[in-house]
Symmetry: C2
Subunit: 404 residues, 2 copies
């Protein structure tokens, strides 16, 4: 009686799923979830905003809204994005249910089963699963410290020129999981390569506001702001990291032709995003409460990054290599060869700390000898102890493999 | 550079879309949107709930939640559904972003391009667009006053036995747009036919709580509660009609095997539904505030239905036929042949009232000589005038077609 569709029949639950469920147990120090700090949310600000809403606006908050977003929020967000240099006038803005829905819709708009998509390797797990859900075939291109390896990208696009990928998906600002911030030069080089190959770009900018210093602030300019004239760019962003993921609000800024199709897709998915949280997000932007809040966030995340980096320097084996992030939530660590990362994960969990293994973020599902640490939701008092636990598990595994 | 996927390339915006945009203009009396009354939302109740939340729970409201739903809400909702006789223990419950997302996910789970799906004719527009978005081919079976025509359903399933439809999608309680409440006998007969053909049922119960009298209350028992042992039934419901669509919360109650696939689909769509509104919905159920609220809703919607029905009796031409609804939001009216319904719509809008033409709800996109009136969001003082306007437009068109 139950006959699943082809694409869904092939979906499998991850084998480390049960392990990852532990990431929310209060007795485990978690570097696993890519989530904001629980105690950092602007609860007081939203309390004040809610208390000041008129009855009329509250009624609107309870009602359906337009598929493309609550009009006052679209206006406030447009102003906000313009202030970051984005072409929010010529392009069209749509509110989505988290930026994952924006990425999913873009997947639906472009991917036929078997179509190729080029991503960074590693890649945001949500994008991997969204593109896979349309039976896209992912081809990953490695990152170095300045961004995606541009010669490798050029090579892949040349190799694929007879059946070019539908788009290239990149996260140039504080990549998840790699932490990478693309240099200005690299953004320029990538734009040149994409122009040469006439390739569509999906730019995911979930973390761009979370820079740690003035130098990084100058570099986080989106490619959408820099190369809009030259390339077709679908830009996605989110309130999850600058307000709260529980609001489920993201957006896409795209050319009108793509916007039309996206609206039809969203209509059939959830009709509209929550008006209730859109009303609150609008006031958070419009009142300017977001600006001091962002200052606070940058300071706190930087502090957590500093503590994590200091502990890694002190406790981790020298064979583990990594780059210090300049913003965002993540440190991406390369492990010595032959290390059993699932064994290390299990040992760490037993002793009370958890992280995510690198394979989770591999667009082709291969092992890549990495692990990801998220310091964003780990309070300052727990970071050192958590890193010690993971370091001990790493050292034990290395000693064991040495003996073999 | 822009190469759309096959399914999206074929999507077209409706030609009456701009007209429907008028449904929210304050100077137009709208019977168009299938939405709750703006002034009926439980604003005070939610204010009180929000004010009483602890800081801890508020922080949770801002954060990501599990893909399948905020655990306390799942528990409260399970109790609520059990009290309606639903098998919330043996089956599994998932919170979705509106029940449209539940319907969309079920479409994704079962439909391969070209697969057949049987629906009522007419059919909820959201389900039509969700199933079409997976390239399902819809086959509509007419409704009579007691529900789907059971002999016609049997005939269609017989005719399709070599390539049976993936599922049958029904709304037995206060159908949108037809307003129909299935009789007990009809539910029984439908269950027999589906069992004989070994067919999966998707039961959409968006309106079941909104009955207008004691007799109807006894009949709104979901098929999921009655025939769970005999059939495989995926049951969907929503907070949109019993709290507010702006919360974007619905649910599905499905067998474990289907639940697993649904969870993987939802993970790639929006990761989780808004925790912020789930926290509030949970307290609304758990505190029992929902029960007096539902009483109030039933009374008000019944009053609006009564006023609409009285005005139709007084002003509409006798050639227009319809059945008085016993719950829900809608009256579905059959027009005399040769009437130009788009012309009537345009004339009504010019004079200040709007409704939805029947073709919108035809699963095969054909004209069906009907129109839908939603009385749910039309305040008592406007109903008579609105019905008069539509009646005048109908009469003018009938007179004109007579003269030709």
């Amino acid at each position: 009686m139950i006959r699943f569709s082809t694409v869904v029949a092939s979906l499998r639950t991850s084998e480390i799923r049960d392990l990852m469920g532990l990431a929310i147990r209060p007795d485990i120090i978690s570097f696993a979830g890519g989530m904001p700090g629980n105690e950092l949310f602007p609860v007081q600000e939203i309390d004040d905003i809610y208390a000041a809403l008129s009855r009329d606006v509250k009624q609107t908050a309870f009602q359906y809204g337009p598929t493309t977003g609550y009009p006052p929020l679209l206006e406030s967000l447009q102003d906000y994005l313009k202030s970051r240099g984005l072409p929010a006038g010529r392009n069209r803005l749509m509110i989505t249910t988290g930026s994952l829905q924006a990425i999913n819709i873009l997947g639906k708009i472009f991917i036929d089963p078997g179509d190729l998509v080029v991503t960074e390797n590693p890649c945001f797990i949500g994008a991997i699963s969204a593109f896979n859900s349309y039976q896209g075939k992912l081809r990953g291109v490695d990152l170095d410290d300045d961004g995606i390896e541009v010669n490798a990208l050029d090579g892949v696009l040349k190799q694929l020129h007879e059946r070019p990928p539908k788009f290239v998906y990149l996260t140039p600002n504080f990549h998840n999981p790699a932490g990478t911030l693309y240099s200005n030069q690299r953004k320029y080089d990538v734009a040149e390569v994409l122009t040469k190959h006439n390739q569509l770009l999906i730019e995911d900018d979930a973390y761009g506001e979370l820079y740690f210093d003035e130098e990084a602030r100058k570099i986080v300019v989106p490619m959408k702001a820099l190369y809009e004239e030259q390339l077709t760019i679908c830009y996605t962003g989110t309130f999850s990291k600058i307000l709260g993921p529980g609001f489920r609000l993201g957006w896409m800024l795209v050319p009108p032709e793509i916007f039309q199709k996206a609206e039809l897709c969203k209509q059939s998915m959830d009709a509209c995003s929550p008006n209730f949280t859109q009303v609150l997000a609008n006031e958070f932007l419009r009142s300017g409460k977001i600006y001091p809040y962002l200052e606070r966030l940058r300071k706190t995340y930087r502090q957590r990054k500093d503590l994590t980096v200091a502990a890694i320097r002190e406790y981790f084996p020298k064979e583990v290599t990594w780059t210090e992030p300049r913003g965002g939530f993540y440190i991406w660590l390369k492990l010595p060869p032959q290390l059993d990362v699932i064994g290390v994960l299990k040992a760490s969990v037993e002793k009370g700390a958890i992280f995510v293994i690198g394979r989770t973020f591999d667009p082709e599902g291969k092992d890549n000898g990495h692990l990801r640490l998220a310091y964003s939701n780990t309070t300052e008092d727990k970071i050192e102890r958590g890193i010690q636990i993971i370091a001990e598990s790493l050292k034990a595994d290395m000693a064991a493999s040495h003996r073999m």
